[in-house]
Amino acid sequence: MKQLAEQIARTDEVPILLTEEAQKFTQEVIGRSGERVDWCYQCGKCTAGCPVTFAMDIEPSRVMRLVQLGQEERVLRSKAIWLCVGCQTCTTRCPQEIDIAKVMDTLREMATEKGYAADREVVTFFKSFLDNIRKYGRTFEPMLVFQYNLKSGHLFQDADKAPLLLSKGKLPMRPSKGSMSVQRIFDALEGNKR
């Protein structure tokens, strides 16, 4: 009880008793994103403006609340964080000026590191995209789609459009390459992690 009273007395904290582990998660999200998720007072503007709320398992304002409550697994295993498309509407409208889209980036990074990433399609797409950059310095669209279809198992997705795109000159046969020094960037970042 003494601990509870102390926590309520500290006005900058949510007067709810959280386990140490739960608090650690909340603090990690705030620390890594640099965004005061604890300032969210559940007005719901982010959820109302989000174009993909209709497809989410947990809507954006509830994701913020679950972060405040230290619900690590529920947040990091959600599909919602992968369905966020980064349109920045929530960030633009938040009355507490929380960069919610940036918090979503942080949550995806954490979910990836912990192996929790829940949306196979989006994860496969991102991975194919980044593989393209590493290989060519740029994305090579035909290869990106081919790789995605192969790895995701959606083998013939959009295959019906290939002849038309080809006739419009939109399907190049060879990649346009950028500086291969990107490989050093990828290597340096992998070294950082280790």
Binding site: A55, D105, T139, L189
Partner: protein, 289 residues
């Protein structure tokens, strides 16, 4: 005339070839010098910042290092957003800037004193609409245009500082200057679903059908865009929507293509034939071509 370092973006070599083509034609006609950044690399787009912020900033920093001048222009709203976000973040976070420098190992990049402009800014603000009016040889009279800005040109406004985030008018003013009639509509900055076109196409179809319907309801002849991602989602996906019984049949042109017509540039130099929904019937009906 000012010279700009030009960042075409990855889709310029594929799905958005006509954007690159019409951009180069329009700038040549206006004597705006574009110097393509040699060996430019992908900005990382959404997949990089979504899972690894260091990678995202490093890829943009690499391009800054490769750039011949500190004034960079791009036509892609997403690349524009990544460049501006990176510069904004690095300018406000010196320790992070140092960390990115260690990762990228730049050869000549010192400070972060760069200007990233979207092509709309170069034409509307730098070149100027008054100057532009004098170059119009074939006013686009009578063409009703729904100007679509999408998300990343305008949001977040604190960083992008491009235009009003809810009701931007820069492209509308450009259309007026060349004689076209921009329509009033409410979907200027609604999201098209962006990269979900591949992992979750059903999301893109739901969002684009609302945007296309709103343009139809506003009696627009065509939609004008300033982003390759928005363009392909609104144009190509009309084929999928047709299969669902939603037949919009509304052409989606890059603003550079409409501008090019007003400047008297030949259709084949603007890549009008590369668009999925053929714009010619509508343009002929309005006597634009």
């Amino acid at each position: 005339m000012t010279a700009y370092a030009y960042f075409p973006g990855c889709s310029a070599h594929g799905t958005a070839k006509e954007y690159d083509q019409s951009t180069r034609s329009v700038c040549a006609r206006l004597e705006i010098e574009l110097n393509e950044i040699p060996e430019w690399v992908c900005c990382g787009a959404s997949p990089a910042h979504a899972v690894n912020h260091l990678l995202s900033f490093s890829l943009v920093a690499k391009n800054l290092d490769l750039s011949p001048t500190n004034q960079i222009v791009t036509g892609c709203a997403a690349c524009f957003n990544r460049f501006k976000t990176t510069l904004y973040t690095l300018q406000h976070d010196r320790p992070l800037w140092e960390r990115i420098r260690q990762i990228v190992q730049p050869t000549k990049l010192n400070g972060s004193d760069f200007r990233i402009a979207h092509l709309l800014e170069v034409i509307c603000d730098d070149f100027g609409l008054d100057n532009l009016k004098e170059r119009v040889v074939k006013p686009i009279n009578g063409l009703k245009v729904a100007c679509y800005y999408g998300c990343l040109l305008v949001r977040p406004p604190r960083i992008m500082a491009f235009d009003d985030p809810d009701n931007p008018t820069k492209m509308d003013e450009l259309m007026k200057a060349i004689g076209a009639e921009p329509v009033e509509w409410e979907f200027k900055t609604e999201c098209c679903g962006a990269f979900h076109a591949i992992p979750h196409p059903e999301i893109v179809l739901a969002l684009t059908s609302k945007i296309l319907q709103a343009a139809k309801d506003a009696n627009a002849d065509v939609i004008s865009v300033a982003c390759p991602m928005c363009q392909i989602n609104l144009d190509l996906r009309q084929l999928d929507l047709k299969k669902q019984g939603k037949n919009f049949d509304i052409p989606v042109l890059y603003f550079t293509q409409i501008l090019g017509l007003a400047l008297g540039i030949a259709e084949n130099e603007l890549g009008l034939d590369r668009l999925i929904i053929d714009p010619l019937p509508k343009l002929k009906e309005r006597q634009v071509v």
